[in-house]
């Protein structure tokens, strides 16, 4: 409790919590903020007017923030997209963090050749650019031709209902967590209190979970907070390249990319097609980044400047 008050007493942290809290609130209140046409199965997109109309329309009573080409309502998609952005960022970050922490802690605890080997493999994963992974997964999961049945392996994979982007980001972003945790676990396990725990007969699982992790976790928490925003921004970048589609903000930006450059050299001619979505993304990133910085000063006071 005292920590919480100290955390919120800094303006920067208060701002971070306000921004993140705002997004969470929008996600929860989406049905109230922008009532869907079909309350049972709300779609994140809504078309106002004719869907073959390629000219984005400025803000009007129907679409408070205007429309993108194809007459998708920007305000509606922004509000409903908050849900999938938060869901995507949190799921990916939590899964990668757990995976990385587990790998890093266990291999660091056992040490020796095992640890050397696991860390080698971790470094190998670090050399794989996520974008190549997304593409490879997409290609691998499609059947050989349009009328071919998916193979049993593909079938099992498709049944997981994991978006290729999500799968790739989970598989190829746990390494920083593993490295962080590993470094501190290798140091901590030499300390007397761990040896004392072992001497009284505590089991390995207990030592890792109760004695090592709580002391090693704080840098991973900081990294995790920063990653939530980063993952969503990365995903929308993939959508932009043509490899994504897991969150709707990126889709919004892709549909209107031709209008961002603007006509007559003024980037603000069609400001509504990219400014609201960009700001939503930027502030999403800033909010989580600030939260990470704040947690860093709170949890690792010595290393933060």
């Amino acid at each position: 409790m005292r920590n919480l008050r100290r955390f919120l007493s800094r303006q920067q942290n208060l701002l971070a919590c306000t921004i993140v809290g705002f997004y969470i609130l929008v996600a929860i209140l989406a049905p109230q903020l922008s009532p869907p046409d079909d309350a049972g199965h709300p779609s994140p997109f809504r078309i106002v007017g004719k869907s073959h109309d390629p000219i984005p329309r400025p803000p009007s009573a129907e679409a408070p923030l205007g429309t993108v080409p194809g007459q998708m309502d920007i305000y509606y998609t922004l509000v409903w997209g908050t849900r999938s952005a938060l869901r995507f960022g949190l799921i990916v970050t939590l899964t990668t963090a757990c995976l990385g922490v587990l790998i890093g802690a266990v291999s660091g605890y056992y040490g020796g050749i095992v640890n050397g080997l696991v860390m080698r493999i971790t470094d190998a994963f670090l050399t794989f650019p996520a974008i190549a992974g997304v593409w490879l997964f997409q290609q691998v999961m499609t059947p050989a031709s349009s009328f071919a049945e998916p193979t049993p392996l593909q079938e099992a994979w498709l049944n997981l209902k994991l978006h290729p982007v999500m799968l790739t980001l989970i598989l190829f972003s746990w390494m920083p967590y593993a490295r962080l945790i590993n470094a501190s676990v290798v140091q901590l396990k030499q300390m007397e209190y761990v040896q004392a725990a072992r001497a009284v007969g505590a089991r390995n699982v207990r030592i890792i979970l109760r004695h090592l992790l709580p002391n090693a976790l704080s840098p991973a928490i900081v990294l995790g907070a920063r990653d939530v925003g980063g993952m969503v921004i990365l995903e929308s970048a993939f959508t932009f390249v043509g490899l994504g589609g897991a969150t709707e903000w990126g889709v919004l930006l892709v549909t209107s990319r031709d209008y961002v450059i603007g006509m007559s050299g003024n980037p603000l001619t069609y400001w509504w097609v990219f400014l609201p979505a960009t700001l939503a993304l930027v502030f999403f990133g800033i909010g989580w980044n600030l939260l990470g910085d704040g947690l860093n000063t709170l949890l690792n006071p010595r290393t933060s400047h």
């Binding site: 080698r120 493999i121 470094d123 190998a124 994963f125 670090l126 050399t127 794989f128 650019p129 996520a130 974008i131 190549a132 992974g133 593409w135 490879l136 997964f137 997409q138 290609q139 691998v140 999961m141 499609t142 059947p143 050989a144 031709s145 071919a148 998916p150 193979t151 392996l153 593909q154 994979w157 190829f172 920083p176 470094a183 921004i233 990365l234 929308s236 970048a237 993939f238 932009f240 390249v241 043509g242 490899l243 930006l253 990319r257 961002v260 450059i261 603007g262 007559s264 050299g265 003024n266 980037p267 990219f274 960009t278 993304l281 930027v282 990133g285 800033i286 980044n289 290393t303 400047h305």
Partner: protein
């Protein structure tokens, strides 16, 4: 420098390079195993393309191609256990047979190499821009801690890491290409690209900026630079900010150390302490971070290429929307890993040059 000094400098450096080379090989073995593991999910018919080297003629009737695929499955034992298949595939990779792409109707390695120079040029110039700038600005900000320089740096760095590069690219395009017309979109203007394709223009390095000068056509180099500025800036900004922030923190820690205090006490000029003593040590964490995030730099290169219509290797992604092309995607993955690894080795060499401890066999933590 006399001969003895040369030997002193080179021999630890050579040892360092050899050690790096060994670890690169180990990494490659692991990562290709992962890539082939993912590839194995694909149906056998798609995987067969991986084994069709340059021998395939570009146009085959469908029935013939079908029979060809079946014979490839038989010949290369595509239903064998994974380890056997994996080693067969790696030996093919080493022989330069990366498979055949049904979409491009061409050899995968040829397709990648053809588009490589544009990607390499973009990456190299970004490195040349953001590494010195990041180190210097981070060092100065740390040196002038809490003063106005530091605060401006922190603000700019924070904003730069928050803006998604693909949006930044589009906004820069609309300002400087459509609006002011200072810089250009694409790779090369029409007149210049005709000149490059003509027989009198010799492709030596593949990099247009350098080839232009070597061919005595500085105008081509200039045109290439006008096209390069915006993508390079877009790509560099994020990595500049990250490198600068890490260097700044390292600098602050370094300036508290005893040897700096001692140097001050000896009456050395402060500037010399900053650039010759502190920066050498403060540069290492930042460069390590950059090396570790080389994969995200390459991802960034591909995204920026798409935004600016740059004819690099990422063009291949946009071709494959309609038909599965496992060979192309696998080749692309291997190519990207090789690109990341060469970036990492390059950054390691820079580190070893800056910090003699690394050369002398100390390991990085």
């Amino acid at each position: 420098m006399n001969c003895l000094a040369m030997r002193y400098f080179l021999s630890p450096m050579l040892k360092f390079l050899l050690r790096r080379l060994l670890s690169v090989l180990a990494t490659l073995l692991v990562i290709t195993a992962i890539i082939y593991g993912i590839v194995c999910v694909a149906p056998v018919e798609s995987r067969a393309r991986l084994y069709m080297g340059r021998r395939v003629s570009a146009t085959l009737p469908p029935e013939v191609e079908q029979r060809w695929i079946e014979s490839v499955i038989q010949e290369h034992g595509l239903n064998d256990p994974y380890p056997i298949q994996y080693f067969r595939w790696v030996s093919l990779l080493l022989r330069g047979e990366w498979g055949w792409s049904p979409i491009l109707r061409s050899d995968v390695l040829d397709a990648l190499l053809k588009r490589s120079p544009a990607t390499v040029e973009l990456t190299l110039y970004s490195l040349l821009l953001f590494i010195p700038l990041g180190l210097v600005s981070g060092a100065v900000a740390g040196w002038r801690r809490t003063r106005i320089t530091d605060q401006v740096f922190r603000l700019v760095a924070f904003v730069s890491t928050s803006i998604p590069p693909f949006i930044l690219g589009l906004v820069l395009l609309s300002l400087f290409y459509v609006g002011l017309h200072w810089f250009l979109l694409g790779y090369l203007s029409t007149a210049e690209s005709l000149a490059v394709r003509s027989s009198s223009f010799k492709t030596i390095t593949g990099l247009l900026t350098i080839d232009g000068l070597l061919n005595g056509r500085p105008d081509i180099s200039l045109d290439a630079i006008r096209h390069l500025v915006l993508p390079v800036v877009t790509l560099s900004l994020f990595h500049w900010a990250t490198l600068g922030r890490v260097t700044r923190v390292a600098m602050i820690e370094e300036l508290d150390k005893d040897y700096i205090v001692a140097a001050h006490a000896r009456g050395l000029p402060p500037r010399r302490i900053l650039w010759q003593h502190a920066l050498r040590n403060a540069a290492v964490p930042g460069l390590t971070t950059s090396a570790l995030s080389a994969a995200s730099l390459i991802t960034g290169v591909y995204v920026v290429e798409v935004v600016f219509g740059w004819p690099g290797v990422s063009k291949l992604i946009t071709y494959s929307m309609w038909q599965p092309d496992v060979a192309l995607a696998a080749g692309f993955a291997v190519y990207s890993v090789l690109a990341v690894l060469s970036l990492m080795v390059l950054l390691d060499i820079i580190q070893a040059v800056v910090d003699p401890r690394l050369r002398e066999g100390g390991s990085k933590s």
